[in-house]
Symmetry: C2
Subunit: 282 residues, 2 copies
């Protein structure tokens, strides 16, 4: 099997006029394709290849740059709803009628809206480091968090602190993940994400976080099985929002991973991949 670090980036032209950059590893068997939705400012290169390869052992795994991100054309929209519509256009362009979704952080918000906008497209959903729209207390993240990851020049130290924490174990895990993410790739890299993407995505994040209790009821509309997962010390989207998701989604299971921050799924990539594989098997 071609690994995520060695797979070539492909493109597909969608009906909305956008040319989407994507990568595909693993092969279709009994399982549905799993489409991954990326975090704030992340592109194709920012997925941990160790995680992708472990997931691809049982299925086809597809990563992509949404509209305006990395090597995809267009302008990044500033709402989660528009990002979800754009992701649906990408999935349609691949000719897929039914998929599983794994959304990470901002991508998990997009996954929720995909499931709400086009339920028939979605079989099962994994929400990693997630929160419901309208939940109180996450409007725009904590100042130290957005300062760490939101600057004009992305700071590796800030990324590691938010994604892996500042304990010695966290820092070591962050270094190991960064080594896999940035050190293994043998094929051409993705285009970096732009300042336009950063501004539009952060606008989308803050709009998602405008406190609106009534919006929490939207989750009743996601009737698919959902696996909600988070790190126990995520400073960006604290685990109480995963509790909230698991309490409001009609059909959810929850796992909080120990000693882990926003990037728990890279920190605990083996355990998380095994949990996701078990969940997707049903």
């Amino acid at each position: 099997m071609t690994t995520y670090s060695a797979v070539r980036t492909q493109t597909v032209s969608a009906a909305n006029g956008i040319e989407y950059a994507y990568r595909s590893v693993g092969s279709d068997g009994e399982a549905l394709p799993l489409v991954l939705l990326q975090h704030f400012r992340g592109n194709l290169d920012n997925w941990d290849p160790a995680l992708i390869d472990a997931l691809a052992e049982e299925r086809r795994v597809i990563t992509f740059d949404n509209t305006g991100v990395g090597a995809s054309t267009g302008r990044t929209p500033n709402t989660v709803a528009a990002m979800a519509d754009d992701a649906i256009e990408f999935i349609d362009a691949l000719g897929l009628d039914k998929v599983d979704l794994l959304g990470f952080s901002l991508g998990s918000f997009v996954a929720q809206d995909i499931a709400l906008h086009r339920p028939d497209l979605v079989n099962r959903v994994v929400l990693a480091s997630s929160a419901p729209q309208g939940a109180s207390g996450i409007h725009g993240w904590r100042p130290d968090v957005i300062e760490a990851v939101g600057g004009r020049e992305p700071s590796p130290e800030g990324y590691v602190r938010v994604f892996f924490g500042s304990s010695p174990e966290g820092l070591a895990a962050g270094q190991a993940a960064a080594g896999r993410i940035f050190g293994l790739r043998t094929e051409g890299p993705d285009e970096p994400t732009t300042w336009q993407t950063r501004l539009a995505q952060y606008d989308a994040v803050t709009r998602w976080g405008i406190p609106d209790h009534a919006k929490l009821e939207r989750l009743q509309g996601i009737t698919q099985p959902v696996f909600v997962a988070n790190g126990d010390s995520d400073p960006m989207i604290p685990p109480r929002y995963s509790h909230l998701l698991a309490g409001l989604l009609p059909n959810a299971q929850l796992k909080i991973y120990p000693d882990a921050a926003h990037g728990f799924l890279f920190r605990h990539h083996k355990e998380f991949a095994a949990d996701v594989n078990a969940f997707l098997r049903g």
Copy 2:
């Protein structure tokens, strides 16, 4: 120290004209008194003495029959809000200005309303096998659950199934707890709860469970530290409602106890008492 099984039932006359039956074990030290709020159809005798004695090692623990229950006078009201007002009258009658609360099942609903009606009275709150008012999916409990515990003649088998599950370990734990609850008492027992109490309490439970998403926002008003706890296989109030509480309360911590049903706090009395003692120490 006098144990819970050996302590005498006392009475106190409150300003609302009710004479409340109560028991008090342990002594005031640095800790505030802990007032316990009992489950559906439960009286003073239905607390596991092993749990009470472990809690009383660090504080004064007070159990009581609310209005109309067991040996207390009056008629059991049919709303949680009225039960909370009656509990406040009892606490006032004891001359207490500030207490910790531990509510179990219906008692945990009452604890929430006490904290909302008179916040100044409440220091910390433990919600065991609980749910928020208005949460979707618990209107009146599952038919097999209310059938097991709601009949005119209470069924020990039904109680054990709902409180301890039906695994061999659960049944053994249920027998052990029943042995402590009904076999250890050397002082006079409480009066049994009446059919009027059963009807009024169940009306209160169903009214609490009328789906009303807006009511979930009430939890924002409970700003005290709250420890939310449940069994992982509670058939009466499933753990997703504890997740929901922990996600909506501004200052909550959550623990789900393994291999345990509604009566997880009796099943795991040592572990739960240690967790509660640690939580109340702050």
